[in-house]
Amino acid sequence: MAAPLAKEEAEAGALSPEALVALYRAMARIRVVDERMATLQRAGRVGFYGVCTGQEAACIGSAAALRPSDWVFPALREGAAMLLRGFPLVTYLAQCFGNAGDVGRGRQMPSHQAGRSVNQVSWSSCIGNQLPQAVGAAWAAKLQREDTVVLAYLGDGATSTGDFHTALNFAGVARVPVVFVCQNNQWSISVPFRAQTATATVAEKAAAYGMPGVKVDGNDVEAVYAATAVAVARARRGEGPTLIEAETYRVGAHSSADDPSRYREAAEVERWRAKDPLVRTRARLEAAGLWDATREAALLDELSAEVAAAIHEAEATPPVQAESMFEGVYARLPWHLAEQRSELLSVLGSRAPVPRDD
């Protein structure tokens, strides 16, 4: 469904067999992470969790098209992008436990990972808010003559927000190096895509902002990679933004707080399960002689062991200290927060520690 690729672009979008194996491993890894964390959530060891099950190819395939120096503004389901780009798994998991091992210092709900070390920007739960920010970051790169590309993720629900319109309009006008990847997983909690917009696709909205719109099979990791690589290359050449719609499906619940049986048919989920991106990639690798049952079993053993060990280490990290709550509201601790910190510590019955700025 992607527009036919010019030769140069096709080259930009081609994946070597080794690279495809690496993407398969990354997809399998986040699947295992999600399974284990969802189980911990049900057991009450994690307060909340959101999986990206069924959407691994859309996330991994697009993030793989970036250089380490490129930036990511994630939405709800792109934690795997930072893992792919080298973020430590233990630190990633510590975010869900909200403890001292979390770079965000326990301040956000679980599943809100971010990390400056991999240029994945901290995000809020507010749908769509990251999009104008991504445009601004891309604009800054352009103004400073740097060749950074910014990848901004969003869900189909986010296309209804004012910020979506604002961001695409700004990006189109300023021709900034940003690539919008919409993971159209067909649902925004209980609201189906057809109730979110009257257009048949997300991709066609791009026309209104003067940028190319590309719809791609989001469960085909190679197709997602190719479309994103082309858009990233265009952006890097100074030819401006692209809107990519990766058509996929939210196989799981919206989050651990949701019950999808209230609003959708199990048969629909099953139809999409048949298009599972991991199964499809594995079949391709097997057909190319790059994968087999032995390698699969070894990979799953390796990932289970890795994830179990990482969870163990992350969960064992000490909690954040109560007084840390006041740090980082501002670069330096102002008088009123110093007073409030003493007040809290006197209620908790401990002594005020030395102030810390961050």
């Binding site: 909340f48 956000q108 927000t161 209980s190 979110q196 509201v329 409030q340 209620v347």
Partner: protein
């Protein structure tokens, strides 16, 4: 009478209002088939159909803006904002439009929209599922801000809000959605707006609270009683316009006031309560009005129990205020 939870009482109020008045429509994200993420609109879609229980696209400015238009045209819309934390995309529509329409049109266009929004912490919701934004809207002339703390009040106040002509922000303490249970009459009744409730009478210290902090204030009052301090607990119910008569009478009686709220302290509604009391009954006050509130930080995830002004902190504030000598 049936025993309902607070969220069931809200649901009961919506159903009662919709049965009584065909102009009442509900709109918002996931309010239809799902019945709302907290199930406040459960079954309304089945009973009243998709024209009166509307699943909207994901855009709060659109939800409130459309509700304004519906109200101008004669409907009684009840938009739901899924979490008060997500009300800000609609801030412009609420502050610059909803609150000002009656005034700027010389009274020609009243705009009776009742915006429902779950607010507050204590549910492990982090920055974006825990905020208490009441002060921002109290500061905006033209809005009424209502916060129930019991199932009985939740139903009666919501029905009152739907039967008057001003826009109302109806903030629902999500921490109490299932935790608060109580007897709720079937069918129609109202609890008046702009009227506070004295939840516990006392003579030494007045504790002013609303929403999810009312049970905490009552718990602190109980502990204070064991220590020989008699607390009067005033549940404001309508934050604005506040029931100044009840507030002032209690302050004059005890001479010592503690205000409790989840929102950050600075420019919180507690500051306004303190200012009102010192302006109106300065000589009757035996101690400075004390604020026991959320800290001036964003609402934290891991440390929410240390952030919230729960009973132990309220008790400490009561104790300090009780002991104060000028």
């Amino acid at each position: 009478m049936a025993t309902l939870t607070l969220v069931q009482a809200i649901h009961d109020a919506l159903r009662t209002a919709m049965r009584a008045d065909a102009r009442v429509v509900v709109l918002g994200e996931d309010v239809g088939r799902l019945g709302g993420v907290f199930r406040a609109t459960l079954g309304l879609h089945e009973e009243f159909g998709p024209e009166r229980v509307i699943d909207t696209p994901l855009a709060e400015g659109g939800i409130v803006g459309a509700a304004i238009g519906m109200a101008l045209y004669g409907l009684r819309p009840v938009p739901e904002i899924q979490f008060a934390d997500f009300i800000y995309p609609a801030f412009d529509q609420i502050v610059n439009e909803l609150a000002k329409l009656r005034y700027r049109s010389g009274g020609e266009y009243p705009c009776p929209v009742v915006i429902r929004a779950p607010y507050g912490g204590g549910v492990k919701g982090g920055h974006y599922h825990s905020q208490s934004p009441e002060a921002l809207f109290i500061h905006t002339a033209g809005l009424k801000v209502v916060v129930p703390s019991t199932p009985y009040d939740a139903k009666g106040l919501l029905l009152s809000a739907l039967r008057q002509e001003d826009p109302v922000l109806f903030l629902e303490p999500k921490r109490l959605y299932r935790a608060a249970k109580g007897e709720v009459p079937e069918g129609d009744y109202t609890v008046p707006l702009e009227s506070a409730a004295v939840r516990r009478e006392g003579t030494d210290v007045t504790v002013v609270a609303w929403g999810a902090m009312v049970p905490e204030a009552l718990e602190a009052a109980e502990s204070a009683a064991h220590a020989g301090i008699s607390c009067e607990v005033v549940d404001l119910r309508t934050l604005w316009p506040v029931d100044i008569t009840t507030l002032e009478a209690s302050a004059r009686k005890t001479g010592r006031v503690v205000v409790v709220h989840e929102a950050a302290r600075t420019c919180g509604f507690g500051a306004e309560v303190a200012a009102l009391l010192q302006e109106r009954c300065f000589v009757h006050l035996a101690a400075p009005v004390k604020r026991v509130t959320g800290w001036d930080t964003p609402f934290p995830y891991a440390l929410e129990q240390q952030y919230l002004p729960l009973a132990p902190r309220i008790l400490a504030g009561v104790d300090e205020t009780f002991r104060f000598v000028a």
